[in-house]
């Protein structure tokens, strides 16, 4: 029988975190920005078909960066959890906070118990019935949850993007301003992202029961 080498727990956690962070940093960032009628999510995504942003439930959206198959697995699990809860209780009982907690539990468990942590960072956003109820949860590869109020940036170079958002965001933006602001923050001062490399979706209070709406290229220009 072979004996595995001893690795200090601190070292092991650090190695795993470094591994996950490296994977995430390779991908491009995405931002969520709160505006007067809801939340808009802008992602840099050259693919037309492999989505980073999608609908979870009536008022809840999901966005992920990192390894596509891993965050897509999380997305589907979220849709299932939300639909099951809505079926068992009521549509009103499905909320982003408890969904974010479940994601955090899952990611935390995988981080410590599995061979390989998930190389993902996700965002769960919910629009309230009034602006005060808008919520965003930013969840890391190790299960750390952060709640954000006005804007959030996840993925490679998220800190720089977040700083740019902090400088430009103000209360009461309209949707097109919020999208422009998100694009600016993603691109930075000396790069403009072409429209065809953008994926934009919004959660709008005035959209009826299902608030999620994906913006087409025509709607963006």
């Amino acid at each position: 029988m072979s004996m595995p080498f001893y690795v200090a727990p601190e070292q092991m956690m650090k190695d795993r975190a470094d591994f996950a962070r490296k994977g995430i940093a390779r991908g491009r960032a995405l931002v969520a920005v709160r505006y007067s009628d809801g939340i808009v999510i802008v992602a840099e995504n050259p693919s037309e078909t492999l989505r980073k942003v999608s609908e979870i439930y009536d008022r809840i959206a999901f966005a992920g960066v990192g390894k596509y198959n891993e965050f897509d697995q999380l997305r589907v699990a979220g849709v299932r959890a939300a639909d099951l809860k809505g079926y068992q209780y009521s549509r009103d009982d499905v909320d982003a906070r408890s969904l974010a907690n479940s994601y955090a539990q899952m990611l935390g468990t995988i981080f410590t118990h599995e061979m390989k942590p998930m190389e993902v960072e996700i965002l769960v956003a919910e629009v309230g019935l009034v602006a005060d109820g808008d919520q965003m949860f930013h969840i890391l590869y190790d299960g750390t949850v952060m709640d954000e109020r006005d804007y959030a940036a996840i993925g490679g170079d998220a800190e720089t993007v977040s700083t740019r958002l902090a400088e430009t965001w103000s209360d009461g933006l309209d949707r097109s301003d919020a999208i422009a602001l998100g694009m600016k923050a993603l691109g930075g001062p000396d790069r403009e992202i072409p429209l065809e490399e953008l994926e934009v979706a919004d959660l709008s209070r005035s959209n009826g029961r299902r608030c999620f709406h994906r913006l087409s290229a025509a709607e963006l220009s």
């Binding site: 989505r51 999608s54 699990a77 299932r80 959890a81 079926y87 969904l99």
Partner: protein, 265 residues
């Protein structure tokens, strides 16, 4: 919220009923119950619905009454409901299983759309409903029959399409019109006589409203327009722009016209 996770071989895919089975929320059909006992339970029954095609899509309509034997158990039941953006279901039969079937059907369409990122084709939706009716066969044999009509706008073929079902899940596409429930004979006959191809939306809605009027006139289980309480049948149209339900004021005016016409005979 617990996260439902599955191994690759056990994954329910984009099917919501399968997911319910996997997590143990699926309710099995009642098994050991006699038809007599079922009758004693006096489960409410929902009745007449009609649907017909017109130039731009389909019209679906249903009365609002549910009966338990000779009693009226509900006056405001909605048997014609939107299934998703471009389709609707109308249901006649045992109200409990019928409403649950509608709920599951709506959820399945939405669940699929979210998981897969695109909607099911119209024919695929009709097929899904057929499977749900078949799953209810055990209950149907004990008197809890559910017979829906499914209608919608086919975005690929750019036309309205209709299907009706039998209790075993048999699925039949209809070209022009279809009626189901206790007043279906009267309602179906009115539509049959008044139907012609490429009707306008307005004419098709009037014909559907008229057919329910005649059904309510001859069948005690079908409710007519109730001006006293302000309850009117549910009438909706589905075309390329999607589902659109007519409001009560509109229907009130149409029924007033029918009343005036009947009076002037």
């Amino acid at each position: 919220m617990t996260m439902p996770l599955f191994t690759t071989g056990d994954d329910p895919g984009s099917s919501f009923p399968e997911l319910l089975k996997r997590v143990g929320l699926h309710t099995a059909a009642p098994t050991a119950m006699s038809t007599d006992l079922m009758r004693e339970l006096s489960v409410p029954h929902a009745t007449t619905c009609v649907a017909l095609t017109y130039a731009d899509g389909v019209v679906m309509a249903g009365d609002r009454r549910a009966t338990s034997g000779n009693l009226i158990s509900h006056r405001t039941m909605e048997k014609v409901v939107q299934a998703d953006r471009h389709s609707g279901v109308a249901i006649a039969g045992a109200a409990g299983p019928a409403m649950e079937m509608i709920r599951l059907f709506q959820l399945q369409l939405e669940h699929y759309e979210k998981v897969e990122g695109s909607s099911i084709s119209l024919e695929g939706k009709a097929n899904q409903l057929s499977m749900m009716v078949r799953a209810n066969l055990q209950a149907a044999m004990m008197g809890m029959v559910v017979v829906p009509i499914f209608g919608g706008y086919d975005l690929r073929r750019e036309c309205g399409r209709l299907w009706d079902y039998d209790a075993t899940g048999g699925r039949y596409e209809e070209r022009d019109y279809v009626a189901t429930g206790s007043g279906s004979l009267q309602a179906g006959t009115v539509v049959k006589v008044g139907f012609h191809e490429d009707m306008t939306r307005d004419d098709a809605v009037n014909l559907a409203a008229r057919s329910l009027w005649e059904a309510a006139d001859a069948d005690s289980a079908t409710g007519g327009p109730d001006a006293l309480r302000g309850i009117y049948p549910v009438v909706a149209t589905i075309d390329a722009q999607g589902w659109q339900r007519l409001d009560d004021d509109d229907l009130a005016a149409r029924y007033e016209a029918i009343v005036a016409e009947v009076r002037s005979r």
